[in-house]
Subunit: 244 residues, 2 copies
């Protein structure tokens, strides 16, 4: 299955039964977590109002309002902290390391859910925008302190079969024993097939850049945007209590 | 398969064929990533010297030296930055948001690899210690700037079948539409089964605490340790160029 996986952005009108979704969440929860504490939570958005509230955080991409279900996965030290407070514990999870622990748990859980959902025939789109506008998502979903959104998925039954996207050769990302810093010759070899693809050549033409890499560095994920969004991300971490 | 998954810490002496490992890495690379940039790299440690160099970072847990293979997955903006520099791009990924983008890609890739490896019959242990001592791992694996370790797996053929561990009921982590902040009564309901398990009662007895939660807050993941490790994590992010 996985060798033919693709991101699905268009869905049929068929709903996803709550029983199916809950079975998938339940199985995904077999994923290992820190101390078996399950430092994540999932917010399921099915209402039109809920999707409309989330849409601007995701640049109003049409999947958010058109998918039957939007799933927001959060790093969550809130439940564990409340548990500890109810049990005479002394929780100390309002710090950066604890955010990373909970974010790791949340992302690992997210990906097992993705693999299971795709195996069940569902189509998914992972929205990387989640960490660009965390505060708006925090507000829309009423997330209390020590809960932070790290991943969003639009989920539905596929209404398209897009072509498979390319991947780099494994020698570009698998290193034996120690890291091999790529030379310009290595880079040429790693990226040759990607750069030669007709769809990527077309992508360069419509973006009016000279190279494919420039689309990413000069148009889509620019230094200016990254530095601005780093500040809003940092501010949201402070607001949610993970940085003092 | 997933419904019976367990962490495996003891392995047979059988090696893992490089072809199998590479096939699993290759399939795991079908996982979605930011802009299809694949912002991760994998370091495969098979040598005794390599494992010995990593062991202290993981509190000398015996799996690290006893497993045939140790896999360290890194958030990696280095390769993409070098590609951009070779192609007249202007990369700007030396910031916190870019670290989170790459860490997300790396963790999602890690979990698909885990699911595939377990499906192939391999046993895994996920080492959460990776982000506790990142600098020592950076040194051992010769990681350059913009490469940061986020997950470590010990991998081998299982030599044990430990009992399944418990999980919280899904109502504790799945929220409809907005976050439902758990009340003390909710906490009692969510944690009752976990607290009643004989193995957890025994865990409380040997740790000489009054409650199960206290083991986590007062012994294993204390405020003092979390605050100290938050600083070493932050320092390592600066050292690797993700924070200025």
């Amino acid at each position: 299955m996985l060798t033919t996986r693709r991101t699905i952005r268009r869905y049929t009108s068929r709903d996803i039964e709550p029983e199916l979704l809950n079975r998938l969440f339940s199985e995904a929860a077999r994923t290992q977590t820190m101390g078996n504490l399950q430092l994540y939570s999932v917010i399921v958005t099915r209402s039109s109002e809920g999707k409309a509230a989330l849409a601007p955080s995701h640049f109003n991409q049409p999947m958010v309002t058109q998918a039957p279900v939007v799933v927001t996965v959060c790093a969550d030290f809130r439940r564990t902290t409340t548990w500890a407070n109810c049990r005479k514990g002394n929780p100390g999870y309002d710090n950066l390391l604890s955010f990373m622990n909970a974010a790791s748990d949340a992302l690992l859980f997210t990906q097992t859910f993705c693999n299971l959902a795709e195996d069940a025939g569902l189509g998914l789109c992972y929205l990387g925008t989640t960490i660009y506008s965390p505060q708006a998502i925090i507000d829309a979903l009423h997330l209390p302190k020590l809960v932070f959104p790290v991943a969003t998925l639009t989920v539905g039954w596929p209404a398209e079969t897009p072509p498979l996207t390319d991947r780099l050769p494994i020698e570009s990302f698998v290193h034996e024993e120690t890291y091999h810093d790529p030379s310009p010759e290595d880079i040429n070899r790693f990226y040759a097939a990607k750069e030669a693809l007709p769809e990527n050549k077309e992508f360069v033409r419509i973006n009016k850049t000279e190279t494919l890499a420039q689309i990413f560095t000069d148009i889509r994920y620019t230094r200016k945007d990254n530095e601005l969004l780093s500040r809003t991300f940092y501010d949201a971490l402070c607001h949610q209590g993970f940085i003092k």
